[in-house]
Symmetry: C2
Subunit: 250 residues, 2 copies
């Protein structure tokens, strides 16, 4: 398949479509081509190849790893969303008069979470639970777990006024640099509903996050966001997401 240099569609968008088609056929199941190979094959510059891959990347299909190559994101029903990584940050930085209230700070034990953090199932965990306010009204309920060995020094910190990651970096010398996030719609339990002063029948977002540093998991976090106070909104244009008009199945 060759590209049409007279087409209205940008070269990189054509290339993106072509690559997506070939991905669907399973042609790259063992190995995705390198930049140089695609440059050679399609006769375009590396810049154009990267632009195409950047878009496949941001739509969660591919992932690039420096020194290793471009790998295909395999997942079944859980659809990766690329730049959704900013989801949590967007909640954090939603403006308004931000404030948080510490509900719990101390030691906890949980075999499931301990295993997620790569610890023995009876390992002691540092736990921090907070309510996030925006405009004086509860917006989210947030709980983090870290290894007590790593975060023990944080037991005496004041988290009403200090960010967890900043404190972690300052006292423990580390901070999540990667990880994953997952979002689901749920019905809050009566207790959660009461804590967040939600009305009955109101649903909520449930966010789960595993934060890693240097490839090792260091933080597990769950966040519950009031559904009546929050929406995630996205603008799309042919300019920023041209693959959409070309490949949107519907």
């Amino acid at each position: 398949m060759t590209l049409d240099r007279n087409s209205q569609m940008p070269l990189w968008a054509q290339l993106e479509t072509a690559l997506k088609t070939r991905l669907d056929t399973g042609e790259f199941d063992d190995r995705f081509p390198t930049d140089a190979e695609l440059v050679e094959e399609y006769g375009v510059s590396r810049h154009t190849v990267r632009e195409a891959i950047r878009h496949l990347n941001s739509s969660g299909i591919l992932r690039r790893e420096r020194g290793r190559g471009t790998v295909i994101n395999r997942s079944e029903f859980e659809q990766p969303l690329g730049a959704l990584y900013s989801l949590f940050r967007s909640v954090e930085s939603s403006g308004a008069t931000q404030r948080s209230l510490v509900l719990g700070l101390g030691e906890d034990m949980d075999p499931v979470i301990a295993e997620r953090l790569g610890l023995a199932s009876d390992a002691p965990l540092f736990s921090l639970e907070r309510i996030r306010f925006a405009d004086e009204t509860p917006l989210a309920l947030d709980r983090s777990w870290l290894s007590m060995e790593l975060a023990g020094d944080l037991l005496s910190s004041d988290f009403e006024h200090t960010a967890l990651y900043d404190e972690l970096a300052r006292k423990c010398g580390t901070r999540p640099d990667a990880g994953w996030e997952r979002i689901a719609p749920i019905m809050p339990t009566p207790e959660q509903r009461k804590t967040l002063t939600m009305r009955r029948g109101e649903a909520a977002f449930s966010l789960e996050r595993l934060g890693t540093a240097n490839g090792l998991p260091i933080e597990w976090r769950t966040t519950l966001i009031r559904g009546d106070r929050y929406r995630f909104v996205s603008n799309f244009t042919a300019g920023t997401a041209p693959s959409m008009t070309a490949t949107e199945p519907d």
Copy 2:
């Protein structure tokens, strides 16, 4: 503020941070600098400027408009999410044995939706309602509205096997090229729950989408996705989202 060329942090990431800081102070409230101005001011190449702006863009802070300039995304509580545009597509392309069942196809009237589409409140609307299956089990409930004047020719189409946008392009010569999308968590009504064969107490995603072509709204769509069958997942790394480690408020 000047950039440190000996820093470990890439130039573009430093520039991103610098620009974000200046954005926060409101310095650019009237006008965001052009590429050329930033090239001049920071003494970097336009490539680097674009890389920085690309990241601000994908985190929903800025929006670039060809021929016009770079503008700041203003929104209060509804946080834009950049590449979340692929949200709907990800549902569509979630694989499995995809199938849809047409529940309704015909004329409808709705003053609110008509207004959203820029029509008179009593204008007749084309309406299409479908159930989306994945693996023989209902996944989503989907309803679209278009102006009857535009989409009248689609009344006789077979949407069990044909995509709406393809049919729209073929018969009506247009197709959404931009728009916006919004996501919320909701409790389905008993009727919706029954249609999607959901258990009691299970929440769902509610997606709303306005699709535009050439700047004019042409489609309003609502989608209900089963919460027990779907998750949105995102991987983040310092490599693909370095601003995160730098600016994560928590």
